[in-house]
Symmetry: C2
């Protein structure tokens, strides 16, 4: 991120040592004022109320799919997407020396991380209790003070909480990657030639509505890189669609396709155009 005021604050899903923290450090290498918060909704509200200039939120993991609180957060919020980052996720099994000696009874981690290590856990620890907690770093913090409790978390968390690395790279998919977004009150970035645009479509609840919504993109040769449906929360069984597309909202083809889509849908909300991230 360029144009960072030197005293800018960045909010992320804490505590210190989460993958969100690792992503935030990569995205804002010169920032030193961090605001770890308790959940993804709080990242949005910290930026909205001015406690932080930017927020960093996970939006999708390559194995587990979308991070639903992030998608749902954009519905209520007026914040924009300013940037994205792809972060390789390498999970480790970590615990204190005392837990290693007495034996592991419970494995704690964020629900998504437990899911990302499902096969490995089934193979190595099929009978242990799994405890879903609010973040990987929270699992590490608990593991540091609870005998019998091991955590699944990254190396950053292990070193921060002084835990032993019992096993590295335990994720089932060795190309496990999480996509993070920077959210803020940002002015639209200039087209770079390799951008992405994220939108939310609130479509009429009628047969064929999604097909008709996708048609303009197809006709203008615009690739969709993601399509996710979520309940609209306005009426049972009505849906919103989250769409990521290749191109910038200032590109002529994207502009025209969005214009046509606006005629068809109840609402089209453009969340932002930003440079497409490159995988690590």
């Amino acid at each position: 991120m360029s144009d960072q005021p030197s005293a800018a604050t960045v909010a992320f899903l804490g505590p210190a040592g989460t993958y969100s923290h690792a992503a935030a450090i990569k995205l804002f290498p010169e920032i030193t004022r961090w605001l770890p918060v308790a959940d993804i909704q709080e990242v949005f509200s910290a930026v909205e109320c001015g406690k932080a200039h930017w927020g960093v939120v996970p939006v999708e993991n390559s194995s587990e799919g979308s991070v639903l609180p992030t998608l749902d957060g954009f519905v209520q919020s007026q914040l924009c997407i300013c940037a994205e980052l792809l972060l390789r996720i390498e999970h480790c099994l970590i615990a204190t020396e005392a837990t290693v000696v007495s034996g592991i009874k419970t494995i704690a981690s964020h629900q998504q991380s437990l899911g990302q290590c499902r096969q490995w856990l089934k193979q190595h620890y099929p009978d242990l209790e799994q405890m879903p907690v609010s973040s990987n770093a929270e699992a590490a913090r608990m593991a540091a003070i609870t005998e019998g409790l091991a955590a699944i978390a990254g190396k950053t968390a292990a070193s921060l909480y002084g835990l032993n690395l019992l096993q590295e790279s335990i994720e089932d998919a060795q190309d496990n990657t999480t996509r993070f977004l920077v959210i803020g009150n940002c002015a639209a970035s200039k087209p770079t030639g390799k951008d992405k645009t994220s939108i939310i479509i609130l479509a009429h609840n009628e047969p064929g509505t999604l097909f008709r919504a996708l048609e303009p993109f197809h006709r203008f040769g615009i690739s969709l890189t993601k399509l996710e449906s979520r309940p609209s929360r306005k009426a049972a069984w009505s849906y919103l669609f989250y769409v990521d597309l290749e191109g910038h909202q200032d590109d002529e083809a994207v502009r025209q396709a969005l214009h046509e889509l606006e005629q068809l849908a109840i609402e089209v909300k453009v969340l932002g155009s930003y440079p497409a991230a490159v995988a690590e």
Copy 2:
């Protein structure tokens, strides 16, 4: 469900008292042999290995969206969908007398139920710790033995665990409904004139692939009632699509659309055709 062998066993997400249990009782009113299991994957495996004849799994909630372990379960499994049910979900805040007297410190429930009561919790208990556990009934079981712990669960669970109803109907959406599926080794049901068919599409990872996959359904006038994307778990950022459509796989239009789709996609898996449920 008709044609139930009298000694048939039905597996569901336990323990006793879950909404899955309530759904199973509605679907199989004459069955008395129940097999509560620990997670959704186990419902699939109990039916696959013959421990149960049928399984009952939640697949989607009208506020929170898809139940991802159920969608993911169908990818690995050869089981079919034999029936569906729509169950109105009424959440209650429940606790022991001792907890009421000493004060509530923690509220436990399944993550989806906490999500379905988000606004109510924010308004009434903004500062309490929320504890996600494996099921609502498990939360009720814990509330029965843990002072200071209240649970969000249904009335069935409250009465089963002898807990007080502190507040009823605390769900944010008053039309909150969960859709359940019956899974089994079932022969395809006969068309009734008002059926649904569920399929999984493994599409080529190319621009425009989803649009082209939906085109035959549009052309044959077939309505899609659900479309959900999930990671394929074969390569990062490649997707499967879960589609529910109106009609039976033996209907001529559905048969032709599926045939055309098979030419376009890597794989099309038909999970079953079954009578469409009517909302309560």
